[in-house]
């Protein structure tokens, strides 16, 4: 994703990722070249920053250190778009709230790539944009719910053919939250715990358990690492969405996107409460 927006020529990109570069970081991240063994202790953000600068010298790429959940609201005011990945449920909600608190509209995106699946969430708050209809340009406006609002929409209110991946991701998200895990720190050993949680959530939401297949959950538990082709696909789409949001032109995605390499389907789902439907 970063490659795409840097190539497009955005004004600046600030990276936040204090995780240290390890061998495990290499397989899906082409911004980190294996032969440069002098990483010792450099963070992901720092290494990627250097690589990204090369793609387009006109883009200012910088690194911000620290835990993003501790950053104050003023930090987010510097940006037009905030994209978070590998963040816990708590962090997602928190950062989304901070973006919404500002008088300036800051676009908010979450993106998760787990194995063969990918999920994207978009929150453009109150969004006005223009688009071309036939020969003329018309102005449109749509309202987005926050992440918290979206996931609070009762499951039984959602259409039947809703992507199963949505529910599965929410279950795993909850599980990680409840168990105090870092995102992606699950494994097949957690299977029973996850299935139990699924049962609870389904009961609370009056949703049939078959809507969240065992096989799907197992896949999400075992392949937690990012998978290059899926990242390329999601990265391309996300890049385009951010460019659309910044330029204010063209219909944006609302508000979730799911991709599953197993069936090769890419689905856009609109999960918003009744008050925020466009």
């Amino acid at each position: 994703f970063c490659k795409n927006i840097v190539l497009a020529g955005v004004g600046s990109v600030t990276l936040v990722d204090d995780r240290v570069v390890t061998d495990e970081s290499l397989p899906a991240n082409f911004l980190i070249l294996p032969h440069e063994n002098h990483y010792n202790g450099k963070t992901l953000a720092e290494v990627c920053c250097d690589s990204l600068k090369e793609f387009n010298p006109m883009v200012h790429v910088a690194v911000e250190r620290g835990d993003i959940s501790t950053f104050g609201v003023e930090f987010f005011e510097k940006f037009d778009a905030v994209i978070i990945s590998c963040c816990s449920l708590g962090k997602k909600k928190l950062i989304n709230q901070k973006c919404r608190k500002l008088s300036k509209r800051v676009a908010f995106y979450t993106v998760e790539c787990r194995g063969s699946c990918g999920e994207m969430f978009v929150d453009l708050q109150d969004y006005k944009y223009s688009k071309k209809k036939l020969e003329e340009t018309i102005e449109c406006q749509i309202e987005y719910p926050s992440f918290e609002e979206a996931i609070l929409v009762p499951w039984r209110a959602l259409p039947r053919r809703m992507s199963k991946l949505y529910f599965a991701m929410r279950v795993i998200e909850q599980f990680e939250d409840v168990e105090g895990r870092n995102p992606g720190e699950t494994s097949i050993a957690d299977r029973l715990g996850v299935l139990k949680l699924r049962k609870e959530l389904c009961e609370t939401n009056s949703l049939d358990e078959s809507q969240i297949p065992d096989a799907l959950l197992e896949r999400l538990l075992t392949d937690t690492r990012e998978f290059p082709p899926v990242c390329a696909i999601i990265g391309g789409i996300l890049g385009q969405e951010v460019i659309k949001a910044i330029s204010g032109k063209g219909d944006p995605l609302k508000n979730f996107f799911f991709f599953d390499a197993m069936d090769g389907k890419g689905l856009i789902e609109d999960i918003s409460g009744p008050s925020t439907r466009s």
Binding site: A8, P27, F55, P229, I233, G235, I237, G239, D251
Partner: protein, 599 residues
């Protein structure tokens, strides 16, 4: 996916055709995925193009300092640094019939899968044919701005790429462009064509004459048609009436071009077809979409008029090798120079033929006495050539849209906009003109990334093998809307005959160095009467020709060598023929290609 599949990936022998935007993304993915990274694996990538600055916005394996280097080699080394175990070979050959000595039978037969990363349909069709012939999977994809599509072509499972063709792009009819434009595209197409004619073709024509006068004259005489007459008229005009020796001459030429294009021709047009003119059916001639034009009036006070003259005179001077004065960009000085000129009055003529037929493909109007006119022109040409300095040659100019200092786009925009003004069509700025005239299709990194990601997922399936049709996905997506549409590929069309059935993927194989008689009998045994056999574009046998009966006992390979003068290198063990057959009811049956093994 397990280590077995990973091993298959590592040992894969992949051919990537093209190393631009799609190619770079593919290499990145493939290096990360570990394809062709084992001892048996090999990745071959080829592209005959060189890196330009405008490529850098999405061909991200290239950097500033790579500009001018070959795309494939730079991409290959960048990919190797992502994964040092990648076995990659970079070539600079353009795929096509001419490079079949590089990409020979052995090369193709050893491949596991082919991935297209091309930018044109013709190359795609060629690769499709090759994959069809060698029965190899082809992963095809393409992008157009925010749109992209992916298509899987799997031998014996799906239809091939060439099985479905897009409808051809509509091109504006000649007469629309030449006399009846109604949008800025027509004006720009016309501008492009005039630019080429005045500044490239005519000087090149002049040079053709000057470098070999005798041959040139003979060629025109022999052709003796309207085209030849036009050629000579242009050359003569350039060397005689409109010859430029000083810069002032060039200004005069430019000013007169203005007068001709935007005043006189329009006057003639509306004289021949007045505003209230009617067609043969009584309907108004100037009904939509035709727009009724008005002639312009040249004025040195109008900056766009001045710009036109400036750009035109500069480029004219270039073709004659005349130095361009420093003061050219000062409007006042240019205006003064123009005002010194005498512009003749124009009276429209009565019986001028203007082409109105939309289906006409040429504007040259033939007349009976072309041959006589040609002789006269040649005579005049010979006369004026004597007045030329020794070794005189013109410099044809090739349109280069990206150099902002060369005045090319200035002239194109000027031509198009003045014409637009004649026809009350909204004008465009230079940048927009460049966009339309240069047929620039914006290419972006996002759709490219997505398309290649989707293809790489299919690559797993293709390399794994044994997947059924329903497992594969073709995608069409538009990131601008956004829209994502995935579908299963379509199976190939099956042809049945008797109890046999086949698809475009099948080839029938005959071994044992058969003769013509044996081949025909073999087909007869299947209930097929072969009446025509060809090798490439050469006919080896046709049942209509009695003479061909003599060939019956010749070996097929000998027929190919003797009749078709086939070039069969030492490695070749087989040759392919196309046989036209009928069944017993005289119905034509499309049969697969037949491979005849003679060794």
């Amino acid at each position: 996916f397990g280590s077995k599949l990973q091993k298959k990936l590592e040992d894969a022998k992949v051919f990537i055709v093209g190393s631009g935007a799609l190619g770079c993304e593919f290499l990145k993915n493939i290096a990360l995925m570990g394809v062709s990274c084992g001892d048996q694996g090999k990745l071959t990538i080829t592209d005959d193009d060189v890196i330009e600055k405008s490529n850098l916005s999405r061909q991200f394996l290239f950097r500033d300092w790579n500009i001018g280097q070959a795309k494939s080699t730079v991409a290959a080394s960048a990919a190797a640094s992502i994964n040092s175990r990648l076995n990659i070979e970079a070539l600079q050959n353009r795929v096509g019939p001419e490079t079949e000595n590089v990409f020979d039978d052995t090369f193709w037969e050893n491949l596991t899968v082919i991935i297209n990363a091309l930018d044109n349909v013709n190359a795609r069709l060629y690769i499709d044919q090759r994959c069809l012939y060698f029965q190899k999977p082809l992963l095809e994809s393409g992008t157009l701005g925010a749109k992209c599509n992916t298509q899987m072509v799997i031998p014996h499972l799906t239809e091939n790429y060439g099985a479905s063709r897009d409808p051809p792009e509509k091109q504006a009819p000649m007469c629309t462009v030449h006399s009846f434009p109604h949008n800025i595209d027509h004006c720009l197409t016309w501008a492009r064509s005039e630019f080429e004619g005045l500044l490239e073709k005519t000087p090149a024509e002049v040079n053709a004459y000057l470098s070999n006068p005798v041959e040139y004259k003979t060629a025109q005489r022999n052709a003796g048609d309207a085209q030849a007459r036009d050629n000579l008229e242009q050359v003569l005009e350039c060397l005689e009436k409109e010859k430029c020796e000083t810069f002032q001459d060039c200004i005069a030429w430019a000013r007169l071009r203005f007068e001709d294009y935007f005043v006189n021709r329009v006057k003639q047009l509306i004289y021949t077809f007045p505003e209230d003119a009617a067609t043969s059916t009584g309907a108004p001639f100037w009904s939509a979409p035709k727009r009724f034009p008005q002639p312009l009036k040249f004025s040195v006070a109008d900056p766009s008029h001045l710009q036109f003259v400036m750009a035109a005179s500069i480029l004219r001077a270039e073709t004659f090798g005349i130095p361009i004065p420093d003061w050219i960009e000062h409007p006042k000085m240019l205006a003064e120079a123009i005002e010194k000129l005498i512009v003749p009055d124009f009276e429209p003529k009565k019986d001028v033929k203007i082409v109105t037929d939309e289906k006409a493909t040429t504007l040259s109007v033939a007349s009976i006495d072309d041959a006589a006119v040609i002789d006269e022109l040649i005579f005049k040409l010979e006369l004026c050539t004597k007045n030329l300095p020794l070794g005189f040659k013109m410099k044809p100019i090739q349109f280069e849209k990206d150099d902002d200092t060369n005045y090319h786009m200035d002239l194109i925009a000027g031509l198009a906009n003045m014409r637009a003004r004649n026809y009350s069509i909204p004008e465009v700025d230079k940048l927009k003109a460049k966009f339309i005239a240069g047929r620039i299709i914006p290419a972006i990194a996002t759709s490219t990334a997505m398309a290649t990601g989707l293809v790489c997922l299919e690559l797993y399936k293709a390399l794994d093998g044994g997947h059924k049709l329903e497992d594969y996905r073709n995608t069409f997506a538009n990131l601008a809307l956004p829209l994502f549409s995935m579908a299963e590929p379509v199976p190939p069309k099956t042809i049945k005959h008797g109890d046999m059935s086949w698809t475009v993927w099948d080839r029938w194989i005959l071994k044992g160095n058969p003769s013509l008689r044996e081949l025909i009998q073999w087909l007869k045994d299947k209930g097929l009467n072969a009446y025509s056999i060809s090798y490439g574009s050469c006919l080896l046998y046709n049942s209509m020709f009695l003479r061909h009966r003599e060939r019956m006992d010749k070996k097929m390979v000998d027929l190919a060598l003797e009749v078709a003068k086939a070039e069969l290198g030492p490695n070749r063990k087989h040759l392919d023929v196309v046989v036209a057959c009928e069944d017993d009811e005289d119905n034509d049956i499309d049969i697969p290609q037949i491979s005849i093994y003679f060794a």
